[in-house]
């Protein structure tokens, strides 16, 4: 069956973000307003040009009806969506759909979270007061509350079935820390070694401290509009070639029982997104594979076909995913080093890669002049990046994907 596609008909025309910090001292409302304002200005638009708004959250943020008024935006369409990781790519698709139907013309998508100072993963801070519901019989009475506890079963089984090692996936942190050392915004800029990762303390075995991402306070925003509208805007238009949103395994809960457990949602998403884009994995120059943990990056790169199933450990430890390698992943440092934003920062980074204007320390970065010297504190622009792919992760059973080109 031929894949329906809106390839090249919609663009990301603006990106914006606040500081990545561990203690913003601000409300998610104030941060969201800043990120949306910056994205609108980045696009060269005015408040009256934006008439759609989408955001995602898990009871930890501010809804669109409180953000739009602060910016003087009158909306023809908005929706507040429940979700974390994998939402960014899915909402780009929803924004395209909303514009395609004629409901609105230009959509701002934001995520605003005090992920360190207010709502922490695993039930600390404000989240500790939330009631215990849902998979009660299966999880909570046994002491399972965090993402690490939920996801790591899949990694443990991957190690058992394919011989994948902690040292192999530690290379994901090593690569992303290399990238973050070129990123003035990153929360953690120090380069680390494989020994640093496997020598750090256990959090949830088989995950060490440095296998886990950095809880962060931050807001991010993308502006989506039609390719036609994008042509006369300020920034170079970045075209959406394909998008897949929250594609799931046969069961979202108890996915292991309808496995295989080491299979993740990309197995189902890849045909949709590559089919729309009309390309293959080898055509992608830069990936943004969700790094809630080192191994989530590995599992997704493998499932989307950047290497064979079971060879993800070898792939991520080969140097391919580092700046200077064949297909760098998370050139900003990603969630492991730049900061945790539930996926949107990795899409922002890829937009900048495609524009050629990554915000590293190269003197001519803003004008797209880069040295491509990847030594400490220097460049992080990939030379001639034409196609990028984001692999969004909600959990092993659910994921999203987005292919963009310049």
């Amino acid at each position: 069956m031929a894949t329906k596609t809106l390839r090249d008909k919609y663009c990301i025309v603006g990106v914006g973000e606040t500081e990545y910090s561990r203690g913003s001292g601000r409300t998610t409302r104030a941060m969201a307003v800043e990120a949306v304002r910056k994205a609108i200005l980045d696009a060269g638009l005015r408040a009256s040009d934006v008439d759609g708004m989408l955001d995602y959250q898990g009871g930890d943020s501010t809804f669109a009806p409180h953000v739009a008024p602060d910016l003087g935006i009158r909306l023809n369409f908005y929706m507040d969506v429940v979700g974390g990781g994998s939402s960014t790519e899915a909402l780009v698709g929803l924004a395209m759909g909303a514009i395609e139907t004629g409901m609105c013309n230009t959509v701002a998508i934001y995520r605003s979270m005090n992920g360190y100072s207010e709502f922490r993963i695993g039930g600390t801070g404000a989240r500790a007061a939330q009631p215990v519901r849902g998979m009660d019989l299966a999880q909570v009475p046994f002491g399972m509350r965090s993402a690490g506890q939920t996801f790591a079963f899949t990694f443990m089984r991957h190690m058992h079935e394919y011989g994948t090692t902690s040292e192999q996936v530690a290379h994901v942190k090593v690569a992303h820390s290399k990238h973050a050392s070129q990123n003035p915004k990153a929360v953690q800029k120090e380069r680390v070694t494989v020994q640093d990762v496997v020598g750090s303390r256990w959090i949830v075995k088989p995950l060490h401290l440095l296998d886990c991402c950095l809880e962060t306070d931050n807001a991010t925003c993308l502006i989506v509009t039609s390719a036609e509208r994008a042509r006369d805007l300020r920034a170079r238009p970045i075209y959406v070639m394909g998008v897949a949103g929250r594609v799931s395994k046969p069961r979202v809960d108890f996915h292991w029982a309808h496995g295989p457990i080491s299979r993740v949602a990309g197995y189902y998403a890849k045909d949709i997104v590559f089919g729309q884009a009309g390309i293959r994995p080898e055509d992608v120059h830069v990936t943004g594979s969700y790094d809630a943990f080192t191994f989530t990056t590995m599992l997704q790169l493998e499932e989307y076909g950047f290497c064979k199933k079971g060879e993800g450990g070898a792939y991520v430890s080969s140097g391919i995913i580092e700046l200077g390698g064949k297909r760098p992943n998370n050139t900003s440092g990603g969630h492991l080093c730049e900061g945790y934003t539930h996926g949107m920062s990795m899409v922002i980074e890829n937009v900048r890669q495609l524009r050629g204007t990554v915000d590293d320390t190269c003197p001519g970065a803003a004008e797209g002049k880069h040295t491509h010297d990847y030594s400490v504190g220097k460049c992080r622009q990939v030379k001639d990046a034409e196609i990028t792919m984001n692999l969004g992760w909600a959990m092993p059973a659910t994921g999203s994907a987005l292919i963009m080109r310049r």
């Binding site: 695993g122 039930g123 600390t124 500790a128 215990v132 519901r133 998979m135 009660d136 019989l137 299966a138 999880q139 909570v140 009475p141 046994f142 002491g143 399972m144 509350r145 965090s146 690490g148 506890q149 790591a152 079963f153 899949t154 443990m156 089984r157 058992h160 303390r201 256990w202 959090i203 949830v204 075995k205 088989p206 995950l207 069961r251 108890f254 292991w256 029982a257 457990i261």
Partner: protein, 135 residues
């Protein structure tokens, strides 16, 4: 027993027979009368054929560790005093997987494939939680 600090499940219409059986130290799974599929955890229908004619059937309570993790850091109430602890998916002989803790086994000795059997933790009057230990 009186000062049990860990969270207890919210008992629903679908899960009540399961917890009632646990209190008697019996582990139940659901079996579809229409197509024979065995499922865990409790649902209102058979997820394989949509039949509502689902019955409760006893499990032998024996199986093997399919996968597991060892938690060293948690904020979960009642659990932070017992670190490290093992969370595991156990594949029962009946062919379904259940989530539980592996107890009374050194976490360093837990491995994929370890044979285990059910044991019940009597947490309060009329309430027991199924856990697993080395068979």
């Amino acid at each position: 027993m009186a000062d049990y600090a860990k969270p207890l499940p919210e008992i629903t219409a679908e899960s009540k027979p399961f917890w009632d059986a646990c209190a008697r130290h019996e582990l139940l799974v659901q079996k579809c009368r229409a197509c024979g599929t065995v499922q865990y955890y409790p649902r209102g229908v058979c997820a394989a054929c949509w039949s509502a004619d689902v019955e409760w059937t006893p499990s032998a309570g024996r199986g093997r560790v399919y996968t597991f993790t060892v938690t060293y850091r948690t904020q979960a109430r009642g659990f932070r005093d017992e670190l490290p602890y093992v969370l595991a998916w156990i594949e029962l002989e009946e062919g379904v997987q259940v989530m539980s803790n592996i107890v009374a086994v050194d976490p360093a000795k837990v491995a994929v494939g370890l044979p285990v059997r059910v044991t019940f933790d009597d947490v309060k009057e009329g309430f027991s939680i199924p856990k697993f230990t080395a068979a």
